[in-house]
């Protein structure tokens, strides 16, 4: 495997696989203006259904493909009917959050059923390779190309010549007008989810066979790759999604050829960010084409926030402050320390996602920046830990804001995609920048927390330290929000066009929000690094970003007290009910789904 032709073939084959995912995303986006974050989970389900078929049922290949397509389509139909249709009249971001919740639930169900260990997925095809020019090509490559091309043809015929296909096209161009022609949009959604899921499931099967390995981490990667390909091709543009996928496959393949495997994903996400910033309508949109309907990203269900009297807050703070003096177990303190750390992250996210309306899906990257900065400063330059943590916060504030600033002009779902991609980029840079971050080995032997030369090792002092920091950050944030700044933030969230008309500089306010939020998250990451004493590029992952988002929605978006209450609830309740660790993510996913559906304003109400 070294010739350029080999890399080209590889790129096109992988691109074909991406196309199966991206076309589904494009169909769904076209009809519902929704980025379906559960698409990768269906791909995962497809891979494992395929494994069951091949390894346990010993079905022949054509039957395996049909079986996977049918089961995946059913999963897609269930998602549409029970996960998304009830949200039709909700705020725009609700279906997006629901697909995130659904993807958590599906991934965890697969993991619990099949265990997270990788499995082999044999392709059932003879292992021969044919010489083609300077490269080689095998039966599996041909199969993938064949499935890709025939799916594209089938889809073309469906859209062009069937009545339902016409309805899909009409609905994706003008939903209301299509309804006025008698098109039942629910049936269109069903069709689109069914098709997208069938294609996604088959894609998962083929990828599993291609690498002869499947594992549960495939899901998020597939969603991300599909989204990249779709956005590059122009959101909602089906042929564009195919071209975008092939392009992505080639870029990755050549990138790997030149720089090595660990860079593969970095190229994908850089491509995404560049396209989002420079050509948000995709590479092929004509200049005069109107941008896709503005996807206002606010998640503000009308609500009257619960007013908690000041004395009650003071009592609560006092109780938690003296808690370590009471006969409580080490375990309780440990749990609450985790809650305070998550609370700081939630403070940050509730400001960014709630108060100013930029729903970030990559917030864990801010933790990582703070953690690495603090760890490296204290370890290599012997900076005192207290100062190093503050430096971590500052670094997160600065770097986070700089990284996100090109995306300030994006709105709605695109903000979420961009933040997700930037989060991945940070993690990949940490992985690849070995001279500084020590790459995959991670950083060990990070000195423990200390203050003025005294090590804080026993749980009580760690508890007090983290609790104090969180309370101070919360007070600062509450102060910030009650000033005119808070009002400007909310004005931008509620109507950025009007806010701009009033002369508010969106970039400046968004920067301020990210600077403040970045600091809080960076400090949380810094403390965590000294607490864990070991971190690597996976310590702060997308799962934590989503967890933080769940906390923030649980508490009520924009609600400072809510962020802390949400963190205590989400960290504490699984402990109280002694829920086994492997079920927790599943529970979080379900909590997110239920919240979006039944109480989008959270426990304490949005502000």
């Amino acid at each position: 495997m070294s010739s350029w032709l080999d890399y080209t073939i590889n790129g096109l084959i992988v691109g074909n696989v991406y196309a199966l995912v991206a076309v589904g995303l494009a169909l769904i986006f076209g009809v519902s203006r929704l980025i379906n974050f559960a698409q990768g989970s269906i791909y995962l389900v497809g891979a494992y259904i395929g494994w069951v078929a091949v390894v346990q049922l010993h079905t022949p290949l054509p039957l395996t493909i049909i079986f996977v397509a049918v089961v995946a389509a059913l999963v897609g139909l269930i998602i549409e009917r029970f996960g998304l249709r009830p949200l039709q009249n909700s705020v725009r971001i609700a279906p997006l959050l629901a697909t995130i919740g659904i993807s958590f639930v599906l991934d965890q169900l697969v993991m619990l059923t099949f265990s997270p260990n990788p499995r082999a997925l044999p392709s059932q095809l003879p292992d021969v390779r044919f010489q083609v020019g300077g490269g080689t090509i095998g039966p599996l490559d041909l199969l993938i190309a064949g499935v890709g091309i025939s799916s594209a043809l089938l889809l073309f015929v469906f859209l062009r010549y069937s009545k339902l296909g016409w309805a899909v096209r009409a609905a994706s161009q003008d939903r209301d007008a299509a309804m006025q022609m008698g098109v039942d949009v629910n049936r269109v959604n069903q069709a689109v989810f069914g098709i997208a899921a069938a294609l996604g499931g088959v894609s998962g099967l083929l990828v599993g066979m291609y690498y002869n390995q499947i594992d549960t981490a495939m899901s998020l990667q597939a969603t991300l790759k599909g989204v990249v390909a779709e956005v590059v091709g122009g959101a909602g543009n089906v042929p564009g999604a195919v071209v975008g996928s092939l392009l992505l496959g080639l870029v990755e393949s050549y990138g790997v050829a030149v720089f090595g495997t660990s860079y593969r994903n970095l190229f994908a996400f850089l491509l995404l960010v560049v396209v989002l910033v420079l050509r948000p309508n995709g590479l092929f949109a004509s200049a005069r084409q109107a941008p896709p309907e503005p996807l206002t990203g606010t998640f503000i269900a009308p609500s009257r926030p619960v007013r908690i009297p000041r004395w009650a807050l003071l009592v609560a703070v006092a109780v938690f402050a003296i808690l370590p003096l009471l006969p409580v177990s080490f375990y309780v303190l440990q749990t609450l320390i985790n809650a305070w750390l998550l609370g700081m992250l939630a403070l940050s996210l509730t400001l960014v996602a709630g108060t100013i309306g930029q729903v970030s899906l990559g917030h864990a990257a801010l933790l990582a920046i703070g953690a690495y900065t603090s760890a490296l400063l204290s370890l290599t330059l012997s900076v005192p830990v207290g100062l190093a943590i503050i430096a971590g916060g500052l670094m997160s504030a600065a770097l986070g804001t700089i990284l996100i600033s090109p995306s300030f002009r994006l709105r709605g779902h695109y903000v979420s995609i961009a933040t997700l991609a930037i989060g991945e980029i940070v993690s990949l840079v940490i992985l690849n920048w070995e001279s500084v971050t020590r790459g995959p080995i991670g950083i060990s032997g990070i000195p423990p927390l200390s203050l003025f030369g005294y090590d804080l090792i026993d749980p009580k002092s760690v508890y007090w330290f983290s609790f104090t920091v969180m309370v101070v950050l919360a007070l600062l944030q509450a102060r910030l929000l009650s000033s005119h700044l808070g009002r400007s933030f909310r004005a931008i969230r509620d109507d950025d066009i009007a806010a701009r008309a009033y002369g508010l500089s969106l970039n400046r306010y968004k920067s301020l929000a990210f600077i403040f939020g970045g600091f809080a998250a960076g400090v949380s990451g810094g403390i965590a690094a000294h607490l864990y004493s070991y971190i690597n590029h996976e310590t702060f992952n997308t799962q934590q970003s989503i967890l933080a988002l769940t906390v923030v929605i649980l508490g009520g978006l924009g609600n400072v007290v809510g962020a802390v209450v949400g963190a205590v609830a989400l960290v504490g309740l699984p402990e109280v009910f002694r829920i086994a660790a492997e079920y927790r993510i599943l529970i979080y996913g379900i909590v997110l789904l239920l919240l979006v559906r039944f109480r989008p304003q959270g426990l304490l109400g949005t502000i």
């Binding site: 209301d176 007008a177 299509a178 006025q180 039942d184």
Partner: protein, 246 residues
């Protein structure tokens, strides 16, 4: 009340509509007699388009009744209402921009399954709108405003509706096209299709309408036969003067 037929085809009775907290309709009552052209006049933001959306089920009223041919439309979905025989020419046309003219017109027949009759009706549209003949395979989004209006009207007729609702069908058209559109509305009506149209251009609308209503911030302030309204000084001052100057 109007001089409509004994049993109206469409009736809105005491409709109250809200967008969030803001009330858009106050006890709105309108009837459209069988075979009539009824026009709803009113200034910007008076709630005209919202009235169309109520009829089509795109917006739900908070209270009140909407009946078509004696049966209530409340609670029906838009596609169900369309299948009852109401077609629409929406505000600003709303064609399927990336589909061809032909596909757009055929989308109008979405609720029908009689292939041969659909093909015959398509031919009929081309005699009614001769200009569209050369444009059939062109992208609908690339047509001029007047041509788009023709496509939107042909699309609405393709469902063989009993009633067509039109939102400002003459908006943004040159005088030549305005006359053509009004002429076509009259032709359509003479073939038995009732018409409910929203207009700002009162003098033109009153030329072809049988009855008219005047809507002001969600309330009907005047109604009656088109002939009497045309001479009514209040209509003349409020609408005819303004629109003729424009």
């Amino acid at each position: 009340m109007t001089t409509g037929a004994p049993e109206p085809l469409l009736a809105l009775t005491n409709v109250n509509t809200f967008y969030g907290q803001a009330q858009v309709h106050f006890d709105l009552s309108i009837t459209v007699g069988r075979g009539h052209i009824v026009c709803l006049l009113g200034g910007n933001a008076s709630g005209k388009s919202t009235t169309m959306k109520i009829i089509l089920g795109l917006v739900k009223p908070r209270s009140g009744e909407v009946t078509f041919d004696g049966a209530s439309l409340i609670g029906l979905t838009t596609p169900q209402i369309v299948r009852r025989g109401i077609a629409s020419v929406p505000e600003a046309r709303r064609l399927f921009a990336d589909m061809s003219v032909r596909e757009n017109i055929l989308m109008g027949a979405f609720v029908r399954n009689d292939r041969e009759a659909i093909a015959r009706d398509l031919d009929k549209m081309l005699t009614l709108f001769p200009k569209l003949g050369q444009r059939l395979s062109q992208r609908a989004g690339s047509l001029s405003g007047g041509e788009q209006q023709m496509v939107a009207m042909a699309r609405a007729l393709m469902s063989r509706p009993r009633m067509i609702v039109m939102d400002e069908p003459t908006m943004g058209l040159s005088p030549l096209y305005v006359d053509r559109v009004l002429e076509l509305i009259r032709t359509i009506n003479q073939e038995g299709v009732s018409v409910f149209m929203v207009e700002q251009n009162a003098s033109l609308a009153l030329e072809i309408a049988h009855e008219a209503y005047v809507l002001q911030t969600g309330k009907i302030v005047l109604s009656g036969s088109a002939r009497t309204l045309k001479d009514d000084p209040r209509v003349r001052d409020a609408y005819l003067g303004g629109s003729e100057a424009a």
